[in-house]
């Protein structure tokens, strides 16, 4: 269990972040550098397990919002997240006691660490999704009736605002167009909750899981072990496909990187191809045999076939040899209410959600 994050943890956290990012959530390398610079300047970050948070704690969730393909080019100024965070504090007239990661995966596994170091507050060992999702309302607190707003949003140019909205869906809609106007990257602070609410409505231990997954990959590689198998096992999932990327059709639509990749099977999957559907994160995988291999909200993870290193959406390109691992999501996402906001239909795919455990039985 992680109690403190120092510079030495960041390499492992970055690898774990890329795994849980399921392709999206931004470039963990950039996140690692940002966290490293913050920790070097301000010192290590205290991590608090969910069961130790006082009921009356005042917790604010934070994240970067926008297109990861933009983030690798337009790097932050450094002050954005604190501005968004302080905007919510002053709107509510209350100082936060803890910082909560909005999602776990990619850049947003470490974004909260940058803020925590900078403002000297502890970060919770938890997050609102148990993975990464592309839209703001796609968090477990939504299922518990927690409001996203008031939401602070700030860009690198110095623009900031606070939004008051009628639903979490509206927060997403309004924030998204603001993010586009801001140049497709912004920092946000939202979902302010009490310690008791955080305990009920978030996924515990996920910051530690990040670090553990990274360590697992590193240590398995060091002994030439099967890192792909190790990741699948730790997440309770399995390898669903191995192949070579044959085509990557990439476009940015309404603030999202939408990608459809064809993966031509190798080894046991030779002769079959898989289509991987991605909108920031990998959301579905279908086989040319006609079957659905895995869909959101389960985790679909692309790893380098040879090393087991995670491959982010930006790195997907023709010729990459990859293994695709699918793993079960937090069980609350599988409820009808959960599937309504993060199931395949929401993302415009016309196949039904099939738990990854069930697709395993068919192959």
């Amino acid at each position: 269990m992680l109690r403190q994050v120092t510079e030495d943890h960041l390499d492992d956290i970055a690898i774990g972040a890329a795994i849980l990012g399921t392709g999206g959530g931004g470039n963990p390398y950039i996140g690692k550098l940002l966290a490293r610079e913050s920790i070097r300047e301000h010192g290590p970050v205290e991590v608090v397990p969910l069961d130790e948070v006082p009921d009356d704690a005042f917790v604010i969730s934070v994240a970067m919002m926008g297109a990861p393909t933009v983030m690798v080019e337009k790097l932050p100024a450094g002050h954005e997240l604190e501005r968004a965070f302080r905007a919510v504090e002053s709107y509510l007239g209350r100082r936060a006691t803890h910082i909560l990661p909005l999602e776990m995966g990619g850049l947003n596994s470490v974004t909260p660490l940058c803020l925590a170091a900078r403002v000297g507050l502890p970060v919770l060992d938890a997050d609102c999704m148990g993975r990464a999702f592309p839209e703001l309302q796609m968090v477990l607190p939504t299922l518990y009736g927690v409001a996203a707003s008031p939401m602070g949003i700030a860009d690198e140019k110095g623009n900031a605002s606070v939004m008051e909205t009628i639903s979490n869906r509206w927060t997403e809609t309004l924030a998204r167009s603001t993010v586009v106007d801001m140049g497709c990257t912004a920092m946000i602070a939202c979902y302010s909750v009490s310690g008791a609410q955080a305990r009920e409505a978030t996924v515990p231990g996920t910051l530690s899981l990040n670090e553990e997954l990274g360590r697992l990959v590193r240590e398995t590689q060091a002994v030439n072990g099967d890192a792909i198998g190790a990741v699948a096992e730790r997440l309770g999932g399995r390898r669903i496909f191995s192949g070579k990327i044959g085509d990557v059709d990439r476009k940015t639509v309404a603030g999202f990187a939408r990608v459809e990749s064809r993966i031509d099977g190798l080894d046991g999957d030779a002769g079959v191809s898989m289509t991987l559907y991605t909108q920031n994160e990998h959301l579905a995988a279908t086989s040319s045999d006609g079957g659905v291999l895995a869909t959101t909200p389960d985790l679909i993870i692309v790893l380098d076939l040879e090393t087991g290193d995670p491959i982010t959406t930006e790195e997907l390109r023709y010729g990459c040899r990859v293994a695709v691992v699918a793993a079960p999501c937090d069980p609350r996402w599988r409820s009808p209410e959960g599937l309504e906001i993060v199931g395949p239909a929401y993302f415009g795919y016309d196949f039904d959600y099939v738990p990854v455990e069930a697709t395993a039985a068919r192959t």
Partner: protein, 523 residues
């Protein structure tokens, strides 16, 4: 006829070729001044092949000068790094993740200025001319002669970089070399900026080396054009190389692998190129090196060049063999001092070459000088060599099955006739100079880099159009029309522009048309 030269850290190799036939080959030592080694190699192959200077139609040189300069952090110039984009990017300034030694070598002369673009081409902030004038003043005061300019989203719109370059050139004068990031790299600010800083730090060396190459040719009486090989296996003119020395990075492994496919006739195989210091292991698919899928670090610095996927291991003919606490071979090497230091050459140092001779795999130098070695130790060392290479091959291949392995390079005599995981070990004729052969048969390229609107034309048609244009340009650059193929297609979506614009970069390459006294300028 053409001459291919490969300048490595240890050896300078040369070949004289007529079409795909090797007429003469030579392996000489790399000299301190480099030039005399090239002159030696050229004159040796011309004499051996009985080729007068007039018959030489082109000289192709592959060199590790620039890679080595960066790896060793030597002969680099201090660089003024100007980044346009403030306030964006302030959290991660240029050079943020460079190893200290290399950062010290290029100096931390960082000028963060306003400017830069959003993903859709809007300005983040306007260019601040006064700020740039102040930067120019400071650059002049610090006596810096080379400038790297990077601007956020310059691959989408390079205007800010060009404008800043014009302004700085006006203030600093003609003697200051300016490298622009949008001419060097792709989207990914830190990686593109890193490559641009490396390029800037190599510009002075680039001029020195280019002059030395020209001098070497003059000295040999050759008036034919000289080309340098690039990391993608294509050629560039020496004038281009002077401006973009980073384009030569990793051309060595590419040349070796291209040479190996020609020599062995194998299109799909693993290639092991063993030199004096390292063994480079790569994989050929359809006769071309597999590209690295992840970002490539050079001397610990991240870049986003397209590079052949090569795994280097510290094993070569000059590797130190230590028998103390457990047997070890390499990773350090006596390098170019092998002809003096190795036991078989009368020296005192036990090297991998000594082991190969003692074990009967090679026969050169003085065999008697290694007769006293313990046969059990020699056997163990040979096994270690084979195991090291076999493990590296295993890491590079994509499936569990055995593959054919082509071994090239002067140090390949270290290997035995069999390797675990290899269907066969092929050691083709002229294996010692595969890299020079790869340079000699390198191709010329044509590139298209333009913004297309997907509203009027479907994506497939845009790609076809770009491919056709790149092919035409390759032919115009001197490629044989029926040999041209598209090797690289890259799309950068520029959303929110009217008409769903996309920037498409396509590269096509083909064989240099030669033999009819016609060699057009590549690039």
């Amino acid at each position: 006829m053409r001459i291919g030269i490969d300048v490595g850290g240890t050896n300078t190799d040369g070949v004289l070729m007529d079409g795909l036939t090797v007429l003469a080959e030579i392996k000489t030592s790399t000299t301190e001044d480099v030039t005399s080694g090239i002159v030696n190699a050229i004159s040796a192959v011309m004499t051996d092949g009985d080729a007068p200077a007039e018959s030489i139609e082109a000289v192709m040189i592959g060199t590790t000068h620039f890679t080595n300069a960066v790896v060793e952090a030597r002969r680099l110039s201090e660089v003024a790094t100007v980044r346009l984009g403030l306030p964006a990017g302030a959290a991660l300034p240029p050079l943020v993740d460079w190893p200290a030694r290399l950062r010290d070598a290029v100096g931390t002369h960082v000028f963060m200025c306003h400017g830069g673009n959003e993903f859709d081409g809007r300005a983040i902030t306007p260019l601040d001319r006064d700020e740039l004038l102040r930067a120019a003043e400071e650059i002049a005061r610090r006596g810096l002669h080379t400038v790297a300019i990077s601007s956020i989203f310059s691959p989408v719109d390079g205007a800010f970089e060009r404008e800043a370059a014009e302004l700085l050139a006006g203030e600093l004068g003609e003697d200051v070399a300016i490298s622009l990031s949008h001419e060097i790299g792709r989207v990914g600010l830190l990686e593109r900026e890193n490559a641009t800083i490396m390029n800037a730090s190599l510009r002075r060396l680039g001029r020195t080396i280019a002059d030395a190459f020209r001098e070497a040719l003059r000295h040999s009486g050759i008036e034919a054009p000289v080309y340098l090989s690039q990391n993608d296996g294509t050629l560039m003119t020496i004038e281009h190389a002077e401006r973009y020395p980073v384009s030569t990075f990793a051309s060595g492994p590419t040349n070796s692998m291209r040479g190996a496919t020609l020599l062995s006739g194998l299109q799909d195989c693993a290639v092991v190129d063993i030199g004096g210091t390292t063994a480079d292991i790569g994989v050929l698919r359809d006769g071309f090196p597999r590209e690295a899928t992840t970002l490539v670090e050079i001397a610990g610095v991240r870049t986003n060049f397209r590079m052949p996927d090569v795994l280097p291991v510290g094993l070569g003919g000059g590797s130190y063999v230590r028998t103390g606490d457990g047997l070890t071979i390499g990773p350090d090497s006596v390098g170019y001092e092998l002809p003096q230091k190795a036991r078989i050459f009368g020296g005192e140092t036990l090297t991998a070459s000594d082991i190969a001779v003692a074990g009967g795999r090679a026969d050169f130098g003085d065999r008697a000088a290694v007769a006293d070695l313990d046969p059990a130790m020699v056997r163990e060392a040979l096994e270690l060599i084979d195991r090291t290479v076999a493990e590296a091959i295993d890491r590079m291949k994509t499936s569990a099955g055995a593959v054919p392995v082509v071994v090239v390079g002067g140090g390949s005599v270290l290997l035995g006739e069999q390797l675990e995981g290899a269907t066969e070990v092929v050691r083709p004729e002229h294996f010692g100079v595969a890299n020079a052969i790869g340079a000699a048969i390198a191709q010329v390229g044509g590139e298209v880099d333009a913004v297309f609107s997907l509203a009027e034309t479907p994506r497939e048609q845009v790609l076809e159009q770009a491919k056709a244009e790149a092919t035409e340009r390759a032919v115009a650059a001197g490629a044989l029309a029926d040999s041209v193929r598209v090797v690289d297609v890259e799309e950068v979506g520029l959303a929110y522009l009217p008409g769903n614009a996309v920037r498409v970069k396509v590269k096509a390459v083909g064989d240099l048309e030669i033999g009819r006294n016609r060699v057009a300028a590549g690039n």
